[in-house]
Symmetry: C2
Subunit: 233 residues, 2 copies
């Protein structure tokens, strides 16, 4: 128990923190951004970016602030995941963590990737190092959520640039859902929802037929949902 501090309560309180699982998509692979810290015995351990919640911010604001402070990423999709409260999850003190997950598009992915020299790095899911505390469990929970959610909410687009090809979109879904899909059937289904705008623009400098660029039409999606339709893939 702290004694030097200056905030005193008439009952004991857990500390409250936020942790963030940051997903990116690159090279056909789903990746997670992790931070490295040196421990006292000068071993390195990896963890999710996280920190304590301030008194004047919500947990969502806290997660976004920490995301920005620690990785430079801002203005991305962030959603609450789950609150982890095992009594001994942090052996040093009782910390309850409200976990969030973020989806980072390819452009911001590259910026975050540029920070590699420092203490953050992208990891493929199959190549994740051991993580501190219950952070592996948090990542696992985030993956399950992402897999479930991507099928009935158009959040996958958050992982691509504003303009993307149908092949990229299909690869994204295949990576997240760990499936393969027939190209024609995938295109038929996604185009039938009329939520994609075909742009007057094609890929450049590719040694093959250049693919058409599309963008997600947020306005059409609004009307789509208001008409009682449900996104589903």
């Amino acid at each position: 128990m702290e004694t030097k501090g200056k905030f005193t309560y008439d009952y004991e309180r857990p500390a409250l923190a936020t942790d963030c699982v940051i997903f990116g998509f690159d090279g056909g692979e789903l990746k997670v951004l992790l931070m490295e810290r040196e421990t006292e015995d000068s071993q390195s351990t990896w963890s999710l970016p996280g920190g304590f919640v301030y008194m004047n911010e919500t947990t969502e604001e806290s997660a976004k602030r920490i995301l920005h402070e620690k990785t430079g990423i801002k203005n991305v999709f962030v959603e609450q995941l789950y609150t982890f409260s095992e009594v001994d999850r942090d052996p040093r003190q009782r910390v309850v963590a409200v976990a969030y997950y973020a989806l980072v598009n390819n452009k911001k992915f590259q910026i975050a990737a540029g920070l590699n020299a420092k203490n953050v790095a992208w990891f493929e899911l199959s190549k994740m190092p051991k993580l501190i505390f219950d952070h592996s469990k948090i990542v696992k929970t985030a993956l399950i959520r992402l897999k479930g959610k991507v099928r009935y909410q158009p959040i996958g687009f958050e992982l691509l640039n504003e303009k993307f090809t149908l092949t990229q979109l299909q690869q994204l879904y295949e990576a997240i859902l760990e499936t393969t899909t027939d190209k024609r059937n995938f295109r038929k289904k996604i185009l039938s929802m009329k939520l994609l705008k075909a742009l007057n623009e094609k890929e450049q400098n590719v040694a093959r037929k250049a693919a058409q660029y599309f963008s997600f039409d947020k306005q059409a999606y609004k009307e789509f949902t208001h008409s009682g339709f449900n996104f589903e893939l």
Copy 2:
């Protein structure tokens, strides 16, 4: 800030509480169990059962403990809903609330209903009183979750007795999803999953043809999911 207390920290901490949305199903209606408290000005206000998290319990244990202490209900389905952290959600002090929702079957519903004389009561969703703080928002969030979840997880059964008729089951789904369904199609679909066991028992004392009782077959569901099938209604 408290001054008489004996727990002191070197930075300010929000209080951590749990609140619980308790769903019951009776008379073809989905209901929520609420608590009444007297305020200082002797007006009554309604709220979700809730309380502070102890240092030696997880938030889930806290929610279950409080549920039991305040309503007598235990051994029911309880699942984490969402963490509410608006800075001013409780005007008296900063409280972050981890909300849970519980599904109470009809038998336990009746017991809880018997507490009516005291300070708890079941309310139909359309007849809910004004609630304290952000508790209406919490109920709304719980409803959205229940609606979403009931379609791809067999949690609806938690709201019925162990034995139930297909008509009861259908009414439950219709109440939660706010839809109507064709009786033959509903039966065809639910029975095709082979997750219901027909019991050698019928309704008693009804002034019409007595309906067959069924129960949910947990063992079959385990095998069902392990075979890669998904519950879906």
